[in-house]
């Protein structure tokens, strides 16, 4: 699971109103290099909840993601590289996503979050 996906996911248990962002429990990380696409990063930037990305990156030990981003930075190659790395290259392979409201734990196994709800949660 990439942090882009983390930024997209929320706990959807019935009644939960603040199911985002999910806390991350890290057991194993993996880095898989990929080609950077600056246009994609610029396109995706407005969609992202930056604070969630920043906090998640820190949880994963990526401390070079700034707390705030100015649009001008999206033209800066060095920043884009860090952004790309945090958003798309670092994968949570083993661990869990935890709902901030209920503490429900969604396990991440072999890079795959299991977001299925129990019948009493829907």
């Amino acid at each position: 699971m990439r942090l882009l996906t983390h930024n997209m996911l929320a706990c959807n248990i019935k009644g939960v109103t603040k199911g985002f962002p999910l806390a991350i429990e890290v057991t194993k990380l993996e880095t898989k290099e990929s080609e950077m696409n600056p246009d994609f990063l610029r396109h995706i930037y407005p969609k992202l909840d930056w604070k969630a990305l920043h906090d998640a990156a820190h949880t994963l030990g990526l401390n070079d993601i700034p707390e705030q981003v100015e649009p001008a930075m999206l033209e800066d190659e060095d920043f884009l590289q860090k952004f790309h790395h945090a958003l798309l290259e670092v994968h949570l392979e083993e661990g869990a996503l935890i709902c901030p409201e209920t503490n429900r734990r969604f396990p991440v196994t072999k890079g795959v979050p299991n977001m299925l709800l129990n019948e009493d949660e829907v």
């Binding site: 699971m1 990439r2 882009l4 996906t5 997209m8 996911l9 929320a10 706990c11 959807n12 019935k14 009644g15 109103t17 985002f20 806390a23 429990e25 898989k32 696409n37 246009d39 994609f40 610029r42 396109h43 995706i44 969609k47 869990a96 935890i98 503490n103 734990r105 072999k110 890079g111 795959v112 979050p113 299991n114 977001m115 299925l116 709800l117 019948e119 009493d120 829907v122």
Partner: protein, 750 residues
């Protein structure tokens, strides 16, 4: 383990409310810690004693990975939380726990705060009367015996039978043109007795003769969501005869503060507050609108009692059965028993209602949303009080199935709380889990129209593929970011192996943030959902996660197939197959049939006995063998079932136009069968059958094939039309004429 359990039992168990936020207490709610993650309660106790004496460690819920730790002082709990919340804890093998303060519930849970009256006089609601021992045990047995001989219709949590008129849960009303016939003769003696009851005979609003009967069977622990029976549906009194077991019925009235209170309510309100002081706090906490006051009353309905609701009790009070296995009746614990069967007698109303309880009257309120709002109020306190929320919209007792829908605010996902029907679990989820590797190896041909759609997306789009299967469309457009999900973990595992970004999720409960995605695709998914409500729900969910002006594509299988031979390979779901299912899955499965669109299958038919149910099936199998003779040998090739996404057009001339429910076979060659490892279990379970001629295991997959215009029809639904205005939704249910919900998809006009 045994010792652990034993010591757990001896510990004083405290009931906790929801974790408090920011209020320090001596109690901690600790998540990600417990026997399920390999840490015993005694280890937890030992670890937490670093901060001071631990009075108790007890499980929080049933997950085994959450516990409550109780200290004897707030300070110790604060210290423990301060030290260990969300950081790796060395004392517990480096686990990262999420720790919050918990609040013990000092009072009995909300449902039990109300004093339970034993007689209707004590309840004091005008129009409510309870007759205990209304019938004898012999009469009770006779009635139960009679209904048990008759076919039940199954709702999500309970079974029902309708007589006179069918009560339609969707509209919460009856269809006056669809009379089913007389009430069953076995109810005649009871009806005669009822007609002699003074309240009935002398009722202000005539109620005789009763012409509608709904029999409800509540399994132990199943209750009923709060509701008022639709005013326009029934007139006069509503009666409920309790058989087989007792229950508590709660009555609730919601009053808008600031309104000039209705005169006859004034003393009751005071009395009610006298009864349960704590309601003040609860009300303010729980009700969304502080100007609403709730009056709650409860009445114990013993076995063989008759409850009469008329006037105010019928028109203005919500009635509700808590979802308890055990009722606490003023300190006395009463078991509900294995089941309670209620006979609800009503009289169908021929015209609009003209009662004086206008705020609850669907005939007199032009804006039905007011009613809905009213109902949502009554569900709010349920949710926050941690009641098991097992209600679902299609579950109704008396009638006005006020759905249990949390108040929705803008971007929150809308919740749909019906369990997945057995037919999908068994004939979709289980089958795909079992055939995943083989399915994946044969599903690579991409359907051109889906490819066109994906190619036309703007670069940089985030694309949600809900029900992505083996992920054959993921990454199709290199300029887009694809995120797939599927309910089948083995199929998702295959996607992940291919490097796709995926997670396991149900298309009916997507975990995506609302509006995050630029596009969504649902390819060959909707036809695996076994009722319309679920199909619509899946559409709603995908539309929810796609931003306004985003683009969404749905494809489904059509009944009208270009290759008519295909249909001969499919098994229409008719009565004879219910025998097979019944034999396979027992009553649980039968019970789900009625909520599917498999209307043609009723239990009456399914109960036709056959010496050997399997005798019926070979005919089709043989036919199928003839048709599939060539391809089975080469079952690894995609030609095996070209029906996959072959949404063919061909003017739709099909003999059985009405037949939409099918089993479509999947042949898993013997040499592939062990890959899944599930084959032996599937054979033992009856999920798969051996076909030695074709040397393959045959699995049946459930399909609801769409007729022309079926998806188009959904566009006018209120729940969809709003979203559809903001999204381009392309629906392809025919190959020649794609159906666009809004903006015409020129690109697809092939």
């Amino acid at each position: 383990m045994r010792m652990e359990n034993y010591s757990m039992e001896e510990m004083p168990q405290i009931t906790f409310g929801k974790p408090a936020h920011g209020v320090p207490t001596a109690y901690l709610y600790v998540a990600n810690c417990g026997p399920a993650v390999g840490i015993s309660y005694s280890d937890i106790k030992k670890a937490f004693e670093v901060f001071g004496p631990v009075v108790n460690v007890q499980p929080a819920g049933t997950s085994g990975s959450r516990v409550y730790v109780s200290y004897d002082s707030v300070d110790n709990a604060v210290a423990a939380r301060g030290a260990w919340n969300s950081v790796a804890c060395d004392a517990l093998e480096g686990r990262v726990m999420v720790i919050q303060h918990a609040v013990p519930q000092t009072q009995p849970s909300a449902g039990e705060q109300v004093v339970v009256s034993m007689s209707s006089v004590d309840v004091g609601i005008p129009g409510l009367t309870l007759y205990t021992d209304f019938i004898t045990s012999e009469e009770e047995q006779e009635l139960l015996h009679e209904v048990d001989e008759r076919p039940w219709q199954t709702l999500a949590k309970r079974r029902v039978q309708h007589y006179g008129y069918e009560f339609l849960y969707k509209t919460r009303n009856v269809d006056l043109t669809q009379r089913l016939g007389e009430l069953p003769s076995v109810s005649e003696p009871v009806l005669k007795k009822i007609s002699l009851v003074p309240d009935i005979r002398n009722a202000k609003e005539p109620t005789l003769p009763f012409d509608q009967l709904t029999v409800n069977e509540y399994p132990r622990g199943v209750g009923l969501s709060p509701h008022i029976d639709t005013h326009s549906a029934f007139e006069g009194s509503i009666l409920s005869l309790s058989l087989g077991g007792p229950c508590i019925m709660e009555f609730r009235k919601y009053i808008n503060r600031g309104d000039s209170p209705a005169d006859d309510n004034e003393d009751m309100r005071d009395e009610s507050y006298g009864n349960s002081e704590s309601m003040n706090g609860q009300k303010d906490d729980c009700l969304p609108n502080k100007s609403v006051e709730v009056i709650r009353k409860a009445l114990f309905l013993p076995q063989r009692s008759l409850l009469i609701l008329s006037g105010e009790a019928r028109y203005a009070w919500h009635h509700y059965i808590p979802h308890h296995k055990i009722d606490n009746v003023n300190g006395q614990v009463l078991d509900r028993g294995t089941r309670r069967v209620s006979f609800t007698f009503r009289k169908v109303r021929p015209g609009p209602c003209s009662c004086t309880f206008i705020e609850h009257c669907d005939s007199q309120l032009s804006d039905t949303r007011t009613l809905a709002l009213d109902s949502s109020r009554c569900s709010i306190d349920e949710g926050t009080k941690g009641y098991a929320s097992v209600d679902s919209p299609e579950e109704g007792d008396f009638s006005n199935e006020i759905p249990y829908i949390p108040v929705e605010t803008g971007s929150q996902p809308k919740h749909f709380n019906a369990a997945t029907p057995e037919i999908e679990k068994r004939y979709v989820h289980k089958v795909y889990n079992a055939i995943a590797p083989h399915f994946s190896d044969t599903r690579f041909a991409k359907w051109p129209k889906v490819a066109l759609f994906l190619e036309s997306l703007e670069p940089g789009s985030v694309v949600a593929d809900a029900g992505c299967g083996n992920g054959k469309y993921l990454g199709f457009n290199k300029n887009c970011f694809f995120v797939g999900c599927d309910i089948s973990p083995p199929l998702i595992g295959i996607c992940a192996q291919h490097g796709h970004e995926v997670f396991v999720a149900d298309a009916l409960h997507l975990p995506h943030r609302t509006g995050f995605c630029d596009a969504g695709i649902s390819i060959a998914v909707l036809h695996h959902l076994s009722n319309e409500e679920r199909r619509i729900r899946a559409i709603e969910e995908l539309l929810r996660v796609v931003r306004p002006k985003g683009r969404v594509l749905f494809t489904v299988w059509a009944v009208e197939q270009e290759d008519k031979k295909l249909l001969t390979k499919w098994t229409p779901l008719t009565c004879k197959y219910t025998e097979e299912w019944v034999a396979d899955t027992g009553t649980t499965f039968q019970r789900n049939l009625s909520i599917n669109s498999l209307k043609s299958i009723n239990e009456g038919e399914s109960q036709i006995s056959s010496a050997n149910p399997c005798e019926n099936t070979p005919k089709d199998t043989v036919l199928e063998a003839a048709q599939l003779g060539r391809s089975v040998g080469e079952a690894d090739t995609p030609q095996q079932d070209v029906g996959d996404e072959s949404l063919s057009s061909d003017a739709g001339i099909v003999g059985e136009a009405e037949q939409q429910e099918y089993f479509v076979p999947w042949h898993l060659p013997y040499h592939r069968a062990e890959i899944g490892g599930a084959s032996a279990a599937a054979l033992a379970d009856g999920l798969a059958k051996k076909d030695d001629v074709k040397r393959a295991l045959v699995y049946n997959r459930y399909y609801h094939c769409f007729v022309e215009g079926e998806l188009q029809r959904y566009r006018s639904l209120p729940s969809l039309s709003e979203t559809i205005r903001t999204c381009t939704v392309v629906i392809l249910d025919k190959s020649v004429v794609p159906c666009a919900f809004n903006v015409s998809p020129i690109a697809f006009d092939v």
